[in-house]
Symmetry: C2
Subunit: 292 residues, 2 copies
Amino acid sequence: MLFDKLCIIGVGLIGSSVARAARKQGLCKQVVAFGRETDNPNLVRAKQLGVVDRFYTDIEPAVTDADCVVIAVPVGAAETIFKLLQPYWNDTAVYTDVCSTKGSIVSAAKAVFGRVPSNFIPAHPIAGAERSGVEAGMADLFENKRLIITPLQDSHEVALEKVTRFWEGMGAAVSLMDVAHHDTVLAATSHLPHILAFALVDLLGRKDEQVEIFKFAAGGFKDFSRIASSDPTMWLDICMANKQEIIPLIQQLQAELSKIQQMLEHDESQQLFATFTYAREARQRFLDQLEK
Amino acid sequence: MLFDKLCIIGVGLIGSSVARAARKQGLCKQVVAFGRETDNPNLVRAKQLGVVDRFYTDIEPAVTDADCVVIAVPVGAAETIFKLLQPYWNDTAVYTDVCSTKGSIVSAAKAVFGRVPSNFIPAHPIAGAERSGVEAGMADLFENKRLIITPLQDSHEVALEKVTRFWEGMGAAVSLMDVAHHDTVLAATSHLPHILAFALVDLLGRKDEQVEIFKFAAGGFKDFSRIASSDPTMWLDICMANKQEIIPLIQQLQAELSKIQQMLEHDESQQLFATFTYAREARQRFLDQLEK
């Protein structure tokens, strides 16, 4: 058994999936949760569902004797959590997280500890769903999903190895990546698409004919807009945390849209056809890669 | 039986689905197809699969004695088809189409006939898939899907009724709408999202790190980008045909993106949260409506 006591900070979709998966895969003897007072109903539900053995709204008993702590809160709450953890930080335990932006969690750690503790190994499972809360969690959420670990120069080797085994034990395919590079790649592949989906649905939802628009929207729109149903709190945090990567991408997309608009205005059929064809082929490359 | 001889002009995804559905639902005795010489392999395959009884690359035998003709070609080919049909136009038959833009098909008819023939009833099934060709067709493609008929002032009542019964017979929920209004609604709900998906995938596909970007893209990206796998020829035609509706929407979306960019730049968390929340709620309204 990899760990004795696993402590999950925040039992939302991801936190409760970690709890379920770790238990299912026999990675720990016991799972406890920590949450805020206001999160009590969710914590109670986690206990009722058997997702966790116990839960706490005080940090001390939650982390005492825990040999693995998973921080599964929205990016914006990370610094607060590090402050809570600091007095009880245990050098023999390992710490990891699930935040979608890694630069910001590293900054949060530095703000509290002055440096990133060598036994905190930042991680990001490329998995999720647009639902939230403990009941949305799934024991197989990480199976065959990619997971990026962004170790730092002074990351403790044993901690890195344990955290890697932990995520791999839940079925994830672990890749190592530089913190900054992670944030660049994810801005393109995840953050920008979310902003686009939010922007489109916001735009259409404010139109007078929105009822009719939505009535005659088909499957394509449903898929395209799915990520606009994601949790606004979580996505506010992600977008703010990684805005230095996201803003240039918004600008690039604006340029791309202006280009398409000009092609339409000037009847440049050949160029527009080439753009659509290039995009279709690029998506095919993505699909081919997905199957590997 | 509603029709004796059904003639499908173009047996791509939609045309072959009409052939399959009409046969399955017993709406016609025989189905024939017309296609260009260059489309011969596809026509041969349609016959082999039993999707059509016969096929022709000459228009005359294809439409002779047909009491229903379905024009299922990309929007840009509509005028050419009307020209081919004109010498054999049969006032006792009914004609319909499946094009995604209705203003353009009406213009194409006017260009050829000087007016829209009263027995041509424009229709648009809100159904599709990103695949194309005769083999992609499905007999149940229109079942429980919406279909918009855009009759004109002098549309023949019996023709309208027959075409309505035809599409309803294939399982579609038929709504009537004004031609211009159809194009406004569909620009928002379908054409703009397609352009966005093409633009995003084109942008990312041209980046140096595209292999890595696609490697770490998750399910959200897959769904979001699905429509970027749509047929470029068809979408070129649609976008050109409806550009007067699409261009203002591109501009509105650009304004929306600029607004979001400014919120990020100026740390306007509250406004960004409100935008995301509004979008999420709007999508929920869309989902609620879909279930009705």
